[in-house]
């Protein structure tokens, strides 16, 4: 049937056009219907290649369905639906269009069966999502969006170069296992790594996400990094370097998250931390580890979305998002508080919440494969994520000192979207088999054995105890209005400064050289003038060439006159 050939990004792109022609309730209805219809359609599609054509000498495969891609396909539909419901109150066409196209691009990327199609959607992801940042319409968001766009496009360009190398080496564009034994492999890894927020390349995320609109960040947190995780899982399973990169990603952001004041930036750092767990899983590369990485990506989209939604609700209702300005909101925003705590419990991997059933797979795989130190780092990161995302976020927003703000719970559509996400977090936590049945491999893993549950609960409760103890002792760093330098300082401050200095030196040297040249020239000129002076009195005085020109003119004029007379 021809219906089978409709790739999932298509309904989203068509939906965007219909959306532009409608308004009001009809537009809202279309926006909700698109992901639902598309998800139903996707659920009926069997595995395999459904769309393929030849382009120049290469086979392009814009639509390929397998176990790995369909997992991301489903979660992107869920994320799109939740995000759309969350932003139903908006009357901003730019954001609505950008969000629909963005979700469609993400779906296009995960179902791309060749590198060229992947590249096209890779760039589309950047160009559509940046409008969610610019939609904040502040100068800050404009600049942050620009930096975001430059880095994302850079990633795309590197991907394209890597693709060209790959096509030259292998004479095919098919997107499958790539590995690290060629230049193409490394280039494509760098491109994926930038979008995946590898250390040093991570600042686009912490820079731009907190500057996006309250609703925009919910979309942003779901798609870009997860597309990168998907691509890594397809192209580099078992690449050992990813284990170390991922472990670094789990650990370093938590330090920044503890001292960061902007609560959405705290969540951005913890997003990198969570992606780190997935990258470790992909690097280990066993069936259990890949399952862990993919299912953690699935869960992370939902619980991170929930946390960003709850902070977006706070921003929407109070206009503030800094920990130093907030506090005591549980009094008037009880529903948001509870939903936020569900998200916090999920990201902290409490038993019976969704994070637990996926994160423990990666940890177990690390131990099984003998990565002892990596396992210790992951354990530390687990305690740390509970500390900054699980406790700090709800504590400073909803409890802590009373800020005096008495904002109400957000509009119903926001609450409803958060409730869906929270329900999914708990449902997956209680009944993980539903999630496991979708996974690429069948490992028969059971997260709920006494050892795991006890170990994780002990770890979390004593982390909470540490928080309480530090707070009572007054050792906990207070929320301060501040900026903390991160690697982006290099390209936002150091490099411009260095360039400015370099250019000023260059200009100075240029000026001195030119001055010296002119001095030389002048002295030559006056030297010749003096010589001329001595030779001639009438024809050449101080300005030999000038006087000569004058005398030539006089002679010519004389000729002219003579011709008239004749």
């Amino acid at each position: 049937m021809w219906m089978i050939e409709i790739p999932p990004f298509f309904p989203f792109f068509i939906g965007t056009f219909i959306l532009l022609c409608t308004r009001g309730m009809l537009r809202s209805a279309i926006m909700i219907l698109v992901p639902i219809v598309s998800a139903l359609h996707l659920s009926m599609i069997p595995e395999g290649i459904h769309l393929q054509f030849a382009f120049l000498d290469y086979q392009l495969t814009p639509y390929r369905v397998d176990k790995l891609s369909i997992m991301f396909g489903y979660v992107f539909h869920i994320a799109a639906l939740i995000g759309i419901i969350y932003s139903l109150h908006l009357r901003d066409t730019m954001q609505q269009v950008a969000a629909m196209l963005y979700a469609g691009s993400a779906l296009g990327a995960v179902f791309a069966g060749d590198l060229l199609t992947l590249f096209v959607f890779w760039e589309l992801l950047a160009f559509t999502s940046v409008f969610l940042i610019w939609a904040r319409r502040t100068e800050r968001s404009y600049h942050a969006g620009m930096r975001y766009l430059i880095i994302q496009v850079l990633s795309g360009v590197i991907l394209l170069v890597g693709t060209l190398f790959y096509a030259h080496e292998n004479n095919t564009l098919a997107f499958g296992y790539i590995g690290l034994d060629s230049i193409a492999g490394w280039l494509i890894l760098i491109a994926f790594g930038i979008k995946c927020a590898f250390p040093i390349a991570h600042n686009w995320l912490t820079d731009a996400y907190p500057e996006a609109t309250a609703t925009g960040t919910v979309f942003l947190s779901a798609f870009t990094t997860k597309v990168a995780v998907y691509s890594l899982a397809r192209a580099y399973p078992g690449a050992e370097i990813l284990v170390y990169i991922g472990a670094a990603m789990t650990c370093f952001p938590i330090f920044f998250a503890v001292i960061e004041n902007d609560l959405r930036r705290v969540l951005a750092y913890s997003l990198i931390n969570q992606v780190g767990f997935m990258v470790v899983g992909i690097g280990i590369g066993t069936a259990l580890a890949i399952n862990g990485a993919v299912s953690h990506a699935f869960n992370d989209v939902i619980f991170k979305g929930l946390l960003f939604m709850s902070m977006g609700a706070v921003l929407h209702m109070t206009g503030r998002i800094n920990g130093s300005d907030l506090g005591g909101l549980y009094k008037t925003m009880p529903k948001t508080t509870i939903l936020c705590i569900v998200g916090a419990a999920s990201i902290s991997a409490f038993p019976l919440f969704s994070g637990f059933v996926s994160k423990s797979m990666v940890m177990s795989a690390a131990l099984e494969e003998g990565y002892d130190w990596i396992w210790l780092m992951l354990l530390f990161a687990s305690a740390g994520v509970f500390h900054h995302a699980g406790i700090k976020i709800p504590y400073f927003a909803f409890f802590a000192h009373d800020s005096g703000i008495r904002a109400n719970d957000p509009p119903n559509n926001m609450l409803f979207a958060m409730a869906i996400a929270a329900a999914l977090c708990i449902a997956i936590g209680i009944y993980p088999q539903a999630l496991y049945s979708l996974l690429p491999y069948d490992t028969g893993y059971n997260p709920y054995d006494a050892t795991h549950v006890l170990a994780q609960t002990q770890l979390l409760f004593f982390s909470a105890l540490a928080f309480v103890w530090l707070n009572l002792k007054g050792l906990y760093p207070p929320e301060l209005r501040s900026t903390h330098l991160d690697f982006d300082w290099v390209y936002r401050r150091a490099m411009p400064n260095v360039l400015q200095k370099v250019f000023s030196v260059i200009w100075q040297i240029d000026r001195t050289l030119r001055d010296a040249m002119k001095l030389r020239l002048n002295s030559y000129l006056s030297y010749f003038t003096r010589k001329n002076d001595r030779l001639s009195v009438l024809l050449s005085q101080n300005y030999p060439s000038g006087s000569m020109a004058m005398w030539v003119a006089v002679v010519l004029a004389a000729y002219l006159l003579l011709s008239f007379i004749k």
């Binding site: 001292i259 002892d372 354990l379 740390g384 050892t451 002990q458 409760f461 530090l470 330098l485 200095k501």
Partner: protein
């Protein structure tokens, strides 16, 4: 909760109660260590109360290191917005002055 002025945690007693619940839970979890036989996969896990100790110490170290990081990473809130605020940028400004001089000095 219904009272306009008094909310759940406005009463210090409730905060105390919550903390006591936490302490009791922590104690129970350590005791459970003796009751439940865990099949460990690694030697470190056999250390007595490995997870509680690791969790506690890990978090304390995390916070102390993060607080120390503030001493050299913290800048004012509008650090990036205001290019002529810090000492680094005063240099940059004077450089700019120089640049201007240079730029205007193309030809007399």
């Amino acid at each position: 909760m219904k009272d306009e002025k008094k909310y759940l945690f406005d009463d210090p007693k409730n905060v105390k109660r919550l903390l006591h619940i936490l302490y009791v839970c922590c104690a129970l979890l350590v005791i459970l260590d003796f009751v439940i036989h865990r099949h460990t996969m690694h030697d470190w896990e056999k250390v007595w109360a490995f997870y509680p100790i690791y969790g506690f110490i890990g978090c304390v170290v995390l916070v102390i290191v993060a607080t120390w990081m503030r001493t050299f990473l913290m800048r004012s809130e509008d650090y990036y917005d205001n290019p002529n605020e810090t000492s680094v940028n005063n240099d940059a400004l004077s450089d700019k002055g120089l640049n201007k001089k240079g730029a205007h000095h193309v030809d007399d």
